[in-house]
Assembly symmetry: C2
Homo-oligomer: 231 residues x 2
Amino acid sequence: MNTAIILAGGVGSRMGLDCPKQFLMVQDKPIISYCFDIFQQHAEIDKLVVVVSDQWKEFVEEQAAKNGISKICGYAPAGETRQHSIYNGLKCIAANCPDTDIVIVHDAARPLVSDKIISDCIRGATEFDGAMPVISVKDTVYQSKDGKTIDKLLTRSELFAGQAPESFKYKRYFEIHNEVTDEEIGATAGSSEIAYRHGMEIRMVQGSERNLKITTIEDLETFESILKGVN
Amino acid sequence: MNTAIILAGGVGSRMGLDCPKQFLMVQDKPIISYCFDIFQQHAEIDKLVVVVSDQWKEFVEEQAAKNGISKICGYAPAGETRQHSIYNGLKCIAANCPDTDIVIVHDAARPLVSDKIISDCIRGATEFDGAMPVISVKDTVYQSKDGKTIDKLLTRSELFAGQAPESFKYKRYFEIHNEVTDEEIGATAGSSEIAYRHGMEIRMVQGSERNLKITTIEDLETFESILKGVN
């Protein structure tokens, strides 16, 4: 069984708006609903767990009901960091759909993920221990400990930017979270990072520029123009 | 004396347009002219050298004349790679303004660079051997030699994306280009990279998200909306 965790706990402070970005209305629908639609209609996704802060839970339940999202099997509270939220989602799976083989972790603020990326991630986590979509890094990237002097040059062709969804063999991924310290969970920058660090073999699959995470007003405008082009 | 090299040799193939991106008209002015204006009015910039392919040279000369750009002291032909173009610009400085102390290398397709970034770069190259504006990397970046399996995790807080303009002590930077092989010049991903590799001390200064390089249609739309907001 494949269960997706939809992360909707963010507060959207980067955009300076009162409303978290994943709940902004775009063409009469909040961004999270575009995400729900994709996972609801995807044949390989069995269940959904939604991570959301208490004050937005009712709103999300209403939207899910309105749009016929029937796969949701549980809600988990938002954590202090993204990885804490994922851990809460993993616990919710243990309680509500413990037969889960593969967990797929997605951001509610990435409403343009393709069916193919989701399928590729599930296949990667089946054949290996996990998978994540990546895109090449366009910038020249320099490494610096103090942010003033260059410590190291990095080879651009060897650098990949991680996107979501990331997918993992559920049992092992959950175990890692139960074994490590709270500090380690808090210091995790990407959800594949903690898996890789603890010996899981993570396969990279082809992501897409289009699968953007909405974090700025410009991203929101891009999403709106893509929707207009599609409809 | 501080001389800026304006790189306008690109062919814009990434946007799939006939016209190279730096020559696209935005509000009745090609993008390169926005760049020219900034460097023309900047008190610390003495001379400009423009790197441009033969077929666009006349167009650039006309635009410069029309907009009163009086600091241009020479034109250099576009090279096979960005770094080859820079080398052509450095040779043009040797021929036309050999008293140059600091060279500032900028992309014609970055029309939103601020006066402050230019000044900070000049100060960095004066106090150290060179300077470049950087911004933090927002993505989680993974290192992989084959693009399939992760070889290494990188600490996001230690990663910086290089922007332009990059500035250098002219004499030493030019010498390096005369000393190295053509292959090394061709394999250079960022203009600070070759300087750093040959022992120049490059200081990072604060860049800006706004100082974007126009490479996609979305970037062009962003530039247009920023202009509309400003005017």
